[in-house]
């Protein structure tokens, strides 16, 4: 295990511990947090069992509190720090037809102000990144003026960016579709790149692994954005169809391996790398805390396999045009079972060799199931 793998840290989203679902049904589960503090406690638990998740991302307003410094202190007491602040401009009735892109200046200003408030939160929590994912888009041809919406988006983003501190960043996420069904205002990496390029150096792109068209070669985009020095962060998850938000690596572990290989190739795990790694998933039918544990383990496992690639041999085969050899060098790393060496790494770091079974045996879930009775379980709505 080299330095790069020791650098691997995966931020957990507070909302992964709340209930989530599809438009058809949200299934609740015992032990679900009722407040941000309980989410942080759960996230800290994931870190305690894995050593991989030292920070927690907040979502405003879902995680709104009166005193963010106090919340930051609460987190540190539990062994984690507060991380990225995620804004929300998709759950207020005013945003039905757009937020930063809305034709109505009042609505745009409201959305801008929300982001400025998020920056205030960041100043309190010490967060570096403001992550903007916009639900803005339209459902029907003609519903909106595609070009005009881009102009307004650029202007709104610029207003927000002016308030980003010197040590802070604005990270702009793109998404192929959903909730907009015809046109999404930031649908692809090119759009996110064009906007962040116009904004300036502290604006970066966020790549969510579930936000692409069918068949998209994601590791290519990873390599390209690293090359262009605009890859700010990852939202990890996996998918078979759309934005399924499944556990990262569950749908296609080989794809995750290839992504992590390009991350390593492009310096994304080097000391001082600008790339932030984060989960963004929904545990609709599986247990949430072990779902997050499984997720960070999957990223670590595939990063470890990717680090095994014999790059020298790979280069020789590539330059010789030996397709089968080159592929075999890569696959040899992927097919190597790294679980024993990761168990050893954990033991060396004072962590349980098998975090999944250690958590199951810890009694944590039983305790919170018993304790968290009454109140309203957290979900995407609150």
């Amino acid at each position: 295990m080299g330095t790069q793998l020791d650098n691997l840290a995966i931020e957990l989203p507070s909302w992964a511990f709340g209930n989530s679902g599809t438009r058809f049904k949200v299934f609740g589960t015992p032990g679900t947090p009722r407040a941000v503090q309980e989410k942080i406690a759960d996230a800290a638990t994931v870190h305690r069992f894995t050593g991989l998740a030292p920070t927690v991302a907040l979502h405003i307003p879902w995680d709104t509190v009166d005193d963010y410094r106090s919340l930051a202190g609460y987190a540190e007491e539990h062994g984690v720090k507060l991380g990225t602040i995620n804004s929300n401009t998709f759950q207020d009735d005013d945003y039905k037809f757009g937020s930063l892109t809305h034709t109505d200046k009042t609505v745009r200003q409201k959305a801008i102000d929300h982001h400025l408030a998020c920056i205030e939160v960041m100043n309190e929590t010490g967060s570096r990144d403001l992550k903007i994912w916009l639900a803005d888009g339209t459902n029907y041809p003609g519903q909106g003026d595609i070009r005009g919406r881009q102009e307004r988006l650029a202007e709104s983003l610029n207003t927000i960016y002016q308030r980003i501190g010197d040590d802070q960043r604005l990270v702009l996420e793109y998404k192929f579709f959903e909730p907009a069904m015809y046109m999404t205002d930031v649908p692809d990496w090119g759009t996110s790149y064009a906007h962040t390029l116009a904004l300036g150096e502290r604006a970066m792109v966020c790549l969510d692994t579930g936000h692409h068209a069918p068949g998209t070669n994601i590791e290519f985009i990873v390599a390209q954005l690293l090359r262009l020095q605009k890859l700010g962060s990852f939202d990890f998850n996996s998918r078979f169809y759309a934005d399924d938000d499944l556990i990262v690596g569950a749908a296609d572990p080989f794809q995750l391996f290839r992504i992590m290989f390009e991350v390593l190739r492009g310096g994304g795990l080097d000391d001082g790398s600008p790339v932030a790694f984060m989960l963004d998933q929904c545990h609709n039918v599986e247990a949430k805390i072990p779902g997050q544990i499984r997720s960070v383990l999957n990223v670590q496992e595939m990063a470890t396999r990717a680090a095994l690639v014999d790059v020298e041999a790979l280069t020789v085969a590539q330059e010789a045009g030996d397709v089968l050899d080159a592929n075999e060098v890569l696959m040899d790393a992927f097919y190597t079972d790294v679980r024993p060496r990761l168990a050893q790494w954990r033991t060396e770091h004072g962590l349980p060799a098998n975090p999944m079974s250690a958590f199951a045996e810890s009694g944590y879930q039983t305790t919170i199931d018993a304790e968290r009775v009454g109140g309203t379980q957290s979900s995407w709505g609150a």
Copy 2:
């Protein structure tokens, strides 16, 4: 306008008049029904302005009432009839891991019993069709036994089918994905066909136009199912990406034209055709009643264009291998503006020439906005 077009009748789903949305947000609107009676009143309004929507589909339990005969009478007073009964096995906590396919016999029996109760409703309402759309499926490889689930599904369906009356039908809908993200138990027409074939003659396939993989040639499936005498019904809507549930014809009017051409080709609008036409859409950001009006007009308009195809000339070109001529014969019909002749048809039938503007001017919306205050607006949850 020939007999086939006069035969066109499109059933409206009661739930289209309630609120709907995405997993991110459901936007409410003034005037939304609070009860099934108000949904029926709205559906009847669509029929009054278009002459195209004489029946209303119910969804159990969303539209549960104590007295269905009385509800049928209420509908008839408003000028419409009750139609298809749609079951729901996706919103009860027991169904988290399946309904008719569940490993637990108790849960399967509960789901079967729900369908038997739906048949009881049908007996009261005089409905012909029991439509079964299952959310059953799994999110992760390994989560379920694909093969075992099929066996249980076959057995459950058979139990239900035994209770279908001689003049009733079981219509089995398929869907590519969602809410299940890895494996869906009835994902394609082949599966629906295999099961309905095993059940018997009164079991048919329901084709929802939004439930296919990207690129699927839907008119081919229409032609094939008509040929196999297993096309029981359509759920109309349109899509750009997934199951977007947009207004039928909005995303790709040419596709709707091609579908209606195969319907005509295959006798789907002949007297005595077994094919039922229905909408299944979500009006998330547009007004609901005019959204439904627009939808039935779109189907009528594309059916009318399809009926204009000079089949004789088309056959000549096809048999001559004259690709461009054959295509031009088809396109000539598609490119013909049939709106004037449809306006005339409406006038002849005592309907407003322009149903959209007539509805807008009717004051109906203003009235319900004012009247329907208080109570809980209907949505997918109720």
Copy 3:
């Protein structure tokens, strides 16, 4: 290694040893066979190094010879047998607008006669399976009569089926698209199933792993066809986008693992299983013989991993609704490195422990590069 894995035999297509490419370019390589005998010699070489490929599929007319019994003898001398006979109704000018579906009876009869000739070849070679893949389809809406083409297809297939011997089978392959760009006459498993069902018991479905819409859950189809007792054979390859015809397992090894798991689950490798396993790939940029070696090794490797699944533990987790446990049981098998035990199995069977390096060191390629000079290299055209 159990009986099921010992039953694994993968037929090689003669055409994999000839040149292939895209519509943009076919790159030739030294050592490419000039005649079917050289293809068989290469295929036998794959078997000699792997013990996995005891039969070779022929393609008529690419592999036409005067004396098939003699060719069968030639094959046996090289240690392999002749297998499936593949027909070709896509390279004659007469088939521009269809073969078995053509509106012109003369063309249909020509295509039928070709298949009857193939059956004659089967009678000489002792082949069991006649595999029919049709390029039939249309490029433009209106070009053909979808419904009429199905009727003609059914009739043509039936005529052919009547000549299939008692110990022979007709295997009907489906394909999503290509070379037809708008409508393909056998586009999905449902169509293939409906036709083979109508034909009779000796008609089966061929599943080519590259012939599906994006996102299709192939292992579901495998499970379903096995359940319906209509899975006749596999054409193995892999894909990222369309019918890429890459080495099986190269694009998504986890998918291949899941497919092989359903094969095992459904008895597809039991003694007497009706399922034939075959490759159908194009080695456009990689070396052909080691490309085939790699392919059969990939199938064996994923079958071996699939056989490691602790089915009992899996069932317990599935029935308990423990999604993460169930998934972990499956993944544990997938993540296990079976290469050492396969090396041992090979040694025990008198095979080289590492077939790839053994082939490279064997000098076979150098020999054929030197010997096969002059003549015309085989390709899809001949």
Copy 4:
């Protein structure tokens, strides 16, 4: 018909008049050109009947001649001019593993030199645009170094760009996949944008309407590239699945309408617009010359419909959040049959009212069928 529509001119590709096909088969047709002069004559015929196609794009080396000034004169005699020069780095054995991206400096230099030679041709023909479409990419994970290939691509492009004249442009086309099946070096507009941005003002993006992932909203990209002032040209065609290269507008006329609406919205048909319109199609099963006539008519027809959109009313509806009204304003233009007014426009311009039937009656095809006997028909290979 306003100025914008009078500005519409669609360049024809010389290769559309030669034979083309799929990897399975190329069907030849009578009358197919044997040399570039005959291709130009056919292209000029399309212009003579439509008034829409005043220039012809050449492909080097398929259209290589000794004297390009003389060829330009030949074209002018026939009433057309020579247009874009298209390079070819995909049919030489040296390019099997890449051209501008190749690891071998010799091969890269060869590919660069080919482009410099193309610039020499441009200097002779007076062409403005050098269009670069690269087949570069890989078929297997590991085969190439994604990142390194980008660096070499950037360097190679820059070398070429330095030789582009002050009145010339380098136009970089992107493509989702094919012929590369795993990774394509210029797969999306973002990549093309990033490279052309780095090169300079005379480097622009070429958008081929068939080169996107399934579901991609192409009109969004049109609007975005126009906004970024980097939309250099279109390659028009249409598709149902992959890069089907069907007649533009054939697969989805409504999409073409939306694209042309964004072109108009963004000034793409204004006087002095930098956007070049071009076809890039394959007439595999339909007649070639009328196929091109149909294509330019389709573009004109959809542009004309798009110009009918009542933009003022559209803006009012958009700003009011009236989704249905906005959509109806757009659809009203799409559903209007503009064929009569286009027939009139043609008559006014001394063109046949119906170019398709006028061509059929002209006897041109019969003449060339008779005259063009012997020699080798042109195709992609020559």
